[in-house]
């Protein structure tokens, strides 16, 4: 490989060009070279990667086209002639750079090399197995569109385009990753999305020093690399096209990553993570109530074990007498302090949960049975934990599932342990300090220049129409929430 300089342009000898490509690819067995000779003297080669191209199209629009029509027309064969008149494909590129030709080859093009020509044709005929569009698994809804994104970038952008039929929708693709060369597509609505946001995004992506991009998280960390470290997600991700469509209509930019069914939205606010697509598809009364319920769940999920610890180890005077007595009765004979008890149960639950996600689906049932018996019954009966603790754990765990965004629920899960520690060491005092620090942190965060806690802090009276509650659409026409 070292002997052949693959930086250089093509030579005018076909056999040398073929050889150099083969050697660059390290004689990979999926590299297919099909040589054709037309009119006894003109030699051509078709080079493509097995499985990356649509084979019957290669057959129809390249091989038979060249073999049949070149005979018929009897014209001098040049790459230009081939491109203009022979090859039946919508995307044909002429290139003199071997490096570019290689990139094309790797992303599913067929290279057409002609003897005595220093240029190559890259015919884009990508075709590989793709997952069909299925229902959203990460954010299912009862009522509303059921489609979800797939791994294919084009399918994904189409799914959004189909929902927003406006000429101002802009799509911009930037390949990122020195090795993966993943196509990252930014989609936004011109005039609604801020220019600065788009400029910032494209600049960041162009200047990326990433080696690989396999999922949105790679991009997320690169885009936010100079932001304060935080446990909270600053970019919303979803596999729902309707949410992305709503997002770009709100003036956000959608970031599609080729190969990932999750699309990012920038900027994203705390409130976005607490909303579900279904909020907009059900009656506003129901949606508003559900949203409040979600915030309540957020509170429970973050603080329930901590409050339990604080109350039972420091502030017994805050409990009603009867409740105190019944809690005390349950704790009789439990060997651990409340904090250890809580950590024990929470960690057990996290283990079960992780196991449940990673396991083959067929044996998922087994884990839940073991989990129920271990956590629910045996631990209480053996007096290792108190029944009240199991109740607290259960409500905490279930509340966690109410949070619509998985990224947000992860953040809350982690914070829960910090608050438990604070409650165990300092009681309600520690809890209060912790909450103050948390609020300060949240209010200091920004996502692409937009305060994270908007519209709660800074308070935007107008935006409250679609924040904690959702007012009916006729009262709620502004889409000013995200714009700074």
């Amino acid at each position: 490989m070292a002997s052949i300089n693959h930086q250089s342009a093509f030579s005018d000898r076909l056999d040398l060009n073929i050889k150099s490509i083969q050697s660059i690819m390290g004689e990979s067995s999926d590299l297919i070279v099909r040589e054709i000779t037309v009119m006894q003297q003109i030699r051509l080669a078709l080079i493509f990667l097995d499985g990356m191209v649509e084979k019957h199209l290669v057959q129809d629009s390249l091989i038979s086209a060249i073999l049949d029509r070149v005979y018929d027309e009897m014209k001098p064969v040049t790459v230009h002639y081939l491109k203009e008149s022979i090859i039946a494909s919508d995307e044909v590129q002429l290139t003199a750079s071997r490096e570019e030709a290689m990139d094309q080859l790797l992303s599913g093009s067929v290279l057409v090399l002609l003897d005595h020509s220093r240029e190559a044709l890259a015919v884009s005929l990508p075709g590989w197995e793709d997952r069909a569009i299925t229902e959203s698994k990460a954010q299912p809804v009862v009522r509303g569109p059921q489609q979800s994104f797939t791994e294919s970038l084009h399918t994904n952008t189409t799914l959004v385009r189909r929902r927003v039929k406006d000429v101002r929708v802009r799509v911009q693709t930037i390949p990122v990753g020195s090795m993966t060369k993943t196509d990252i597509t930014i989609m936004y609505v011109q005039g609604i999305a801020g220019d600065q946001l788009i400029r910032q995004l494209t600049e960041r992506l162009r200047n990326s020093q990433l080696e690989k991009v396999l999922e949105g998280e790679y991009i997320e960390e690169w885009l936010l690399k100079d932001k304060p470290r935080t446990i909270f997600p600053l970019l919303y991700n979803t596999d729902r096209p309707d949410v992305i469509a709503a997002g770009i209509l709100d003036g956000k930019a959608a970031i599609f990553i080729d190969g990932s069914p999750f699309v990012l939205l920038a900027p994203s606010l705390f409130a976005d993570f607490m909303q579900s697509a279904e909020d907009y598809y059900e009656s506003y009364i129901y949606s508003s109530l559900i949203r409040m319920l979600r915030y309540l769940s957020l509170f429970i999920c973050m603080f329930a074990p901590a409050i339990y610890i604080a109350l039972t180890t420091y502030h017994q005077d805050m409990l009603p007498t009867q409740l105190l007595l019944s809690l005390a009765a349950q704790r009789e004979g439990v060997p651990f302090p409340a904090f250890i008890e809580a950590v024990l149960m929470e960690v057990t639950f996290e283990i079960l949960r992780e196991a449940g996600i990673r396991m083959p689906r067929t044996i998922g049932q087994a884990v839940s049975i073991v989990g129920t018996i271990v956590i629910g019954q045996a631990a209480v009966e053996a007096s290792i934990v108190s029944a009240a603790m199991v109740i607290v754990l259960a409500i905490t765990a279930i509340s966690n599932f109410v949070i619509p965004s998985y990224s947000m629920s992860i953040a809350i899960r982690i914070l829960r342990f910090i608050f438990m520690g604070l409650a165990a060491a300092f009681g309600a005092f520690g809890l209060t300090i912790g909450i103050i620090v948390l609020v300060i942190h949240l209010c200091g965060l920004q996502s692409f220049g937009v305060p994270y806690m908007r519209p709660y802090a800074p308070y935007k009276a107008d935006a409250q129409k679609d924040a904690l509650v959702r007012l009916p659409y006729r009262l709620n026409t502004k889409r000013s929430r995200q714009r700074s």
Binding site: Q316, L325, A328, A329, R331, G421, A425
Partner: protein, 406 residues
């Protein structure tokens, strides 16, 4: 980010960890390290205080318990002061006494007669004690005996005592649910003397302290609230009977609901009114240089029981009943006031306070010998009685031959 930054963050985390582990948890106490005190009794014995506390045995509170042990334990200890006695109890109890959930404080009569201020100081000073517990004075029996009584309804006797007091104060009036805050007010305000409800045991007290007490439907012994104790300053003077206690409840606006019987005008039969609400307004005035008290009482009541031969569907008859009931109430209240004026001569009604508000200058002249003035003070009552509904039947059903002839 280079290595130095990581090191700096590492240092900070270690510091934070030290902060938590070195300072945290300093007054942590797990639920199974404390004894929840529900009620406290204070007796006088050998010139010392004998403090009894009723604590919960938590095992008995769980539904799985199957032992035959009592749900509460009474510890008692003697010491010259309350705090000492309380801490001394750890010599016989495995856990520290936790006072936040104390719902009931009981004095025996000796302590009440000698003065209760001394005992209250600790209870108000200690940060753990929540000043919302009710108080009462044990009559005839010692506070310790009262706390040892096994009560039928609630598993925890203290709860039984507390709830019974609150319910009876609401539905029956001649008891008064005095909590420690109102006690403090009564002790510190001028022109208002404190009172406390009395508590006694009805039945065989000896059998009452065994678990057999609740083994059959009729208990051998049960507690019973009885009368209101009149205090001068913090010393108990004596007791009011039921009627006078009720009069006290009316005057001090403590009647939420009660029942009262009234004799019919034309026979010895009675009818009973259910009072739904009463509101009393004190209107102090000065007549010929002396304090004169007028009280306006608004009463709303229904007919609860009827034995007079009357046709209640006639407004005129209802009106008669109403006048009769008002007359009876007037009697009760007046005799209550008269008894207190004559027998005790202490202003438990807070008349003095009312004068203090309206005539502050005169009050300062009267303050010193107020109780004397109270004794001779004329009191006038104006009752506005509203007898409303008579219930689901109209006249009393009566099938006796004489009445049918009419």
């Amino acid at each position: 980010m280079h290595l130095g930054t990581y090191r700096r963050i590492g240092y900070r985390m270690v510091l934070a960890l030290l902060l938590i582990s070195l300072t945290g948890c300093w007054n942590r106490r797990e639920l199974n390290e404390i004894s929840t005190v529900l009620a406290m009794g204070i007796d006088r014995a050998d010139g010392q205080y004998e403090v009894s506390v009723q604590v919960v045995d938590p095992i008995q509170m769980s539904q799985k318990s199957n032992t035959q042990r009592s749900a509460t334990i009474v510890y008692s200890e003697k010491a010259p002061t309350l705090f000492e006695a309380l801490r001394k109890s750890t010599t016989s109890a495995p856990r520290r006494m936790y006072l936040s959930h104390m719902t009931f404080l009981l004095f025996d009569e000796t302590v009440a007669r000698e003065g209760i201020k001394q005992t209250l100081d600790f209870l108000l000073r200690d940060h753990e004690v929540r000043p919302d517990f009710n108080m009462a004075v044990a009559r005839e029996y010692s506070a310790k005996q009262m706390l040892s009584l096994v009560t039928p309804m609630e598993v925890l006797p203290a709860m039984d005592l507390m709830k019974s007091l609150r319910v009876s104060a609401k539905a029956w009036a001649p008891t008064s649910a005095v909590n420690v805050v109102s006690m403090m007010q009564m002790l510190t305000k001028d022109g208002l003397e404190p009172i406390l409800t009395g508590l006694t045991i009805a039945g065989d007290a000896k059998k009452g302290i065994t678990s057999k007490n609740v083994a059959q439907p009729a208990t051998f012994a049960n507690f019973k609230y009885q009368g209101i104790g009149v205090f001068r300053d913090d010393r108990l003077l004596g007791w009011l009977n039921e009627s006078d206690s009720k009069s006290y409840a009316y005057i001090t606006n403590h009647v939420t609901s009660t029942v009262a019987n009234v004799t019919c005008m034309d026979s010895d039969d009675k009818f009973v009114v259910e009072v739904l609400g009463a509101k009393t307004k004190m209107q102090p005035s000065i007549r010929s240089g002396k304090p004169y008290m007028t009280m306006k009482i608004d009463v709303r009541a229904n007919v609860g029981e009827m034995h007079c031969m009357m046709d209640l569907s006639k407004p005129k008859d209802m009106y008669k009943l109403q006048t009769e009931a008002a007359k009876r109430l007037n009697q009760v209240i007046m005799s209550g006031i008269r008894h207190v004026q004559q027998r005790y001569g202490v202003d438990i009604y807070g008349f003095g306070e009312a004068f203090h508000r309206k005539y502050p200058k005169d009050w300062h002249r009267w303050k010193a010998d107020w109780n004397q003035r109270f004794e001779d003070m004329p009191v006038e009552i104006q009752i506005h009685y509203q007898l409303g509904k008579f219930g689901k039947i109209i006249s009393p059903f009566d099938n006796s031959p004489e009445t049918r002839k009419e």
